[in-house]
Amino acid sequence: MEGRDRPYLVLFVLPALVFFAAFFLLPMARLVAVGGSGPGGAAATYAAIIATPRYFRSLVSSLVLSLLVTGATLLIAGIAGLFLQRHRFPGRSLLVAMLTFPLAFPGVVVGFMVIMLAGRQGVIGELFALGTGQKVVFAYSMAGLFVGYLYFSIPRVILTIMAAAEKLDASLEEAARSLGARPWHVVRDVLIPALRPAIFSSGAICFATSMGAFGTAFTLATEIEVLPMTIYTEFTLRANIAVAAALSIVLGVITWAGLALARTAAGSTVVASA
């Protein structure tokens, strides 16, 4: 009986297949081809990424920034997420809503939020001025970018941590406490090992998202060079199509690898978007 359905099944999957092949597979192939089409061929173009200080610097900046953001986010979201999942108190749902609302913001809006916080009239700057007499404006520097990346990463990771914390076995903690473990011991010996898959997978997503983020850097503009911005300027302002393509491939491979890593840790398909 199964066989009789086959033509229908093929018909059902064909549109998606055709669409995908035409508008993704084909263009990707072209991208790879263009990436290898610069003077000197593929090897030279990809080698130029390492050799040219500007490209290499932007790659390294992206990597370092993403790693720092991942570490900071895991720490911050870990503390806040665990706290919210394990305690019930009036106002808790409000806090959770506030922390997860920015999930839907595109990178541009996040950039704007950073300007609100740390731009020329930013609230952080004003507070600093009240305290030290000196206004602090850091929205348009690496620090501002860091804050922006933190801004869209925290909601994501908090949700994952909270979901994982919900499944924690309370009796393990009680057992540790019955053996004399102080709160810090419980965190180190019971909680973190139990949350390791979630920490790993959400960390990998955070890394991949930060690597590929464009809108935030674009809004905060000026001279910050992260990889997506470099790709953008090479393509639109300098018409270095081959380099732009090659850099895109490199970036794509890095983010894809990060997410594949997250998937093996979490055991299911995960997605990142920013």
Partner: protein, 269 residues
């Protein structure tokens, strides 16, 4: 237990600080969009003037975003729901490969996907300068979410038995699909739809590369206003964005909760 409540107080303060970090700028921008003069603050009076300006300057971006989101949804439904069904029915290496591949446009940066599209189809001027070009990128990006949402629901029910009983009663393939499969994945379709629309309205990375001055979506307009307009207009524009997505987010939250409750209350049979 004083030591315990000290730890509680610290964690609470920390969490509130983090929430403030995220929400205060939102509040600030909402205020900025509604006050006459940002530098003077609320004292200068509340006004809808800036919102009016946004409407005057960027009206077409709002319409375009809604058009693209709606069309994107329609395409995702047409392409994704049948594909999800096939993925549930046929679980082979090929279908798993397809499922993996579908996620690629989400795994790699939108910038790369957009670049690839431009390199391949940029020659066709009609296509390149129409909003359909942007639509294609959006469909690529949102399709996996629709497929996964429907897939999740279909995998959780005993589809095989349902279909076999329908077959035993004489139903043809189409009758089965329309009468048995579709009604049973309503929840997944709805959740997927909300997700798709929210993602499409907020998509920027791809759209910025794919747009032209005549095809600007809301986020593209936002970027423009942040760069070239005064703070109040950018803020008012952001308010418009919030107004569009908040109902969607709330709807998604509400949809998620009753399903959890329903699953818990299901009678043993």
């Amino acid at each position: 237990m004083p030591r315990r409540s000290r730890a509680f107080a610290f964690q609470l303060a920390f969490t509130v600080l983090v929430s403030a970090f995220l929400i205060v700028p939102v509040g600030m921008s909402i205020t900025a969009g509604l006050t006459a003069n940002y530098f003077q603050g609320v004292k200068s009076g509340l006004t809808l003037r800036w919102v009016g300006e946004v409407w005057r300057l960027y009206r077409e971006t709002i319409f375009l975003s809604m058009t693209i989101a709606g069309t994107c949804l329609a395409l995702d439904l047409a392409l994704g729901v049948p594909a999800a069904y096939v993925l549930v029915r046929r679980q082979s290496r090929l279908t798993r490969l397809f499922e993996e591949a579908l996620v690629l446009p989400v795994a790699i940066p939108g910038l790369a996907t957009a670049l690839a599209l431009i390199l391949t189809y940029g020659v066709y001027r009609e296509f390149r300068t129409s909003w359909v070009f942007i639509l294609v990128g959006h469909v690529l990006f949102t399709l996996p979410f629709m497929v996964r949402s429907v897939l999740a629901v279909l995998s959780s029910i005993d589809l095989r038995t349902l279909e076999e009983s329908a077959r035993s009663l004489g139903a043809s393939f189409i009758q089965r699909f329309v009468g048995v499969v579709l009604p049973n994945c309503r929840g997944g379709i709805l959740a997927g739809a909300l997700m798709v629309v929210t993602l499409s309205i907020g998509e920027f990375n791809m759209t910025w590369m794919l747009h032209t001055p005549l095809t600007r979506t809301l986020p593209v307009g936002l970027a423009d206003s942040y760069a070239s307009m005064r703070l109040e207009i950018g803020s008012a524009y952001t308010i418009v964005f919030f107004v569009m997505i908040i109902p969607l987010l709330v709807a998604m939250q509400l949809l998620a909760r009753p399903r959890q409750h329903a699953a818990a209350e299901e009678p043993e049979s």
